[in-house]
């Protein structure tokens, strides 16, 4: 298996790992968003959906474990690449002309990724831990109320929205970048892939960010 390890640790191999894990996370976000949008169906719908996930708990746990692995690979590999790539140019340019030849989102994946990562930790603490580890409301399956109270906090909601915008920058570059890495770049379909990536990104950002906005402005102080 030495060949596999060396293939995956070559420069192209590392990109490939980034792309595969990235695509998995892109797919995961779709499922996550669909789940979140059930909140618009009211507390009952959302609480039933989450409660029903409880029934298939073992499967959920396995999926969660796989997700953690994917995240770890994506983050570890990304940080490693960033560090190695920094070392490939020990002395930088005095005049930085990169804004004239490339897109800022493509150059700042480490920044957008890191902020999303910090957000992810806080996010897991706020929701995953509350839902799974004996929050009193969770015991009574009042998941919707947990969300509503978290989002009634301006700071948390603000952070959430900022993180979603940065996630958008990350996704917009990452989506088409993954296809380029797989070698699927061609005059006919690459422009389509780029458009699809933008549409996907907009749906994700607007979809996720709409929920704190809803709770802040429209749910109305009855929390």
């Amino acid at each position: 298996m030495g060949w596999l390890y060396s293939a995956l640790s070559s420069s192209i191999g590392k990109k490939f790992v980034m792309a595969v894990t990235g695509i998995c996370l892109i797919l995961f976000l779709i499922i996550h968003l669909i789940n979140n949008l059930t909140m618009y169906g009211g507390p009952e719908l959302f609480n039933t959906v989450v409660k029903n996930l409880d029934i298939i708990k073992p499967i959920v746990r396995v999926i969660e474990a796989v997700l953690v692995l994917i995240f770890v690979f994506h983050i570890f590999n990304g940080v490693k690449l960033w560090y190695e790539n920094k070392k490939a140019r020990p002395i930088g340019y005095t005049v930085n002309g990169s804004s004239k030849n490339s897109d800022i989102t493509s150059r700042t994946m480490i920044v957008s990724g890191s902020i999303v990562f910090i957000f992810l930790i806080i996010h897991l603490k706020t929701f995953w831990v509350s839902f799974n580890l004996g929050h009193p409301l969770a015991e009574e399956h009042q998941y919707y109320e947990i969300v509503a109270s978290a989002f009634s906090n301006w700071i948390y909601s603000g952070l959430y929205i900022v993180a979603m915008v940065l996630l958008g920058f990350h996704l917009n570059h990452g989506f088409q970048s993954a296809f380029q890495t797989f070698g699927w770049n061609n005059n006919k379909y690459f422009p389509l892939i780029k458009k699809l990536g933008l549409i996907y990104t907009l749906i994700m950002v607007i979809g996720f960010a709409s929920i704190p906005i809803y709770f802040l402005f429209f749910y109305g102080g009855n929390v």
């Binding site: 420069s11 070392k87 490939a88 340019y93 990169s98 380029q180």
Partner: protein, 256 residues
């Protein structure tokens, strides 16, 4: 004939040798808008020599954009602000009177500075030696048109083959990655029948060498394509990624 000259301030990177600390030196000069940037540096060097000062070391050969020897980073952009030309083709008419122009060498760990604006790009030769060729049996001249190939494919291979090996792609990339250069060299053969026998061996060997030499990894910013004097497309990188993947999947060689 009274010619309107441009008064410029040049900030040029001066470094006495590979292990010296470099710094920017400032020069003021008046230059004809018809002069190329290298001719301007020639003028400056004549001046410096007349004053018994060390001239600025920089490289050039053909001075018509076909050899890939020249290469300066001008105001942060390899080969300067005009797309699809080499440094030697950049004329001073693109600048304005009173401008300050920053001139730096290509910067990458794999391209160590030799002196001033000269860098050692022999890392590219090391990559080429590992597979940037096809092995042919010499013998009598083959018949013309003996190998059928469509015009479209031939043109695409020709596009890849226009890479002049200047290194601007490495200089432009935030990761100092050589992917555009290597992918052009891989593609020019991967597209043609003559390149098939060694196709998978070539891509693996060249990528391996590229990694060993300390170039960074590609993160698809596409800065290389934007700065390449020959407009080499990042589609070549996609092709190389695909070939590398296929090489790993298809061949039984566990060594490379």
């Amino acid at each position: 004939m009274a010619e309107k000259k441009l008064n410029l301030t040049l900030k040029i990177w001066r470094q006495a040798g590979p292990n010296f600390v470099g710094n920017f030196a400032e020069y003021k000069l008046a230059v004809s808008p018809d002069s190329s940037i290298l001719e301007m540096l020639d003028d400056l060097n004549n001046d410096l020599e007349n004053k018994n000062l060390e001239p600025v070391a920089f490289e050039s050969d053909c001075r018509e954009g076909i050899c890939g020897t020249c290469g300066l980073v001008i105001n942060g952009q390899p080969h300067g602000p005009i797309p699809k030309i080499a440094t030697c083709q950049l004329h001073m008419r693109h600048f304005n009177d009173g401008d300050t122009i920053w001139i730096e060498p290509f910067r990458a760990k794999a391209f160590p500075i030799i002196k001033d604006l000269m860098v050692d790009r022999s890392a590219f030769d090391r990559i080429q030696e590992t597979g940037g060729f096809i092995s042919v049996n010499t013998g009598s001249v083959p018949d013309g048109n003996a190998i059928p190939i469509s015009k479209d494919i031939a043109s695409e291979a020709m596009d890849s083959a226009t890479c002049i090996g200047c290194g601007a792609c490495v200089a432009a990339c935030k990761n100092a990655s050589a992917m555009l250069f290597v992918s052009a060299k891989v593609s020019q053969f991967a597209l043609l029948p003559q390149g098939q026998p060694e196709r998978y061996q070539r891509v693996q060997a060249m990528v391996k060498k590229m990694d060993e030499l300390g170039f960074g990894s590609c993160s698809n910013t596409y800065a290389c394509e934007a700065e390449c004097p020959k407009g080499i497309s990042v589609k070549n990188i996609a092709r190389m990624n695909r070939d590398y993947f296929m090489a790993k999947v298809k061949t039984e060689n566990v060594e490379s």
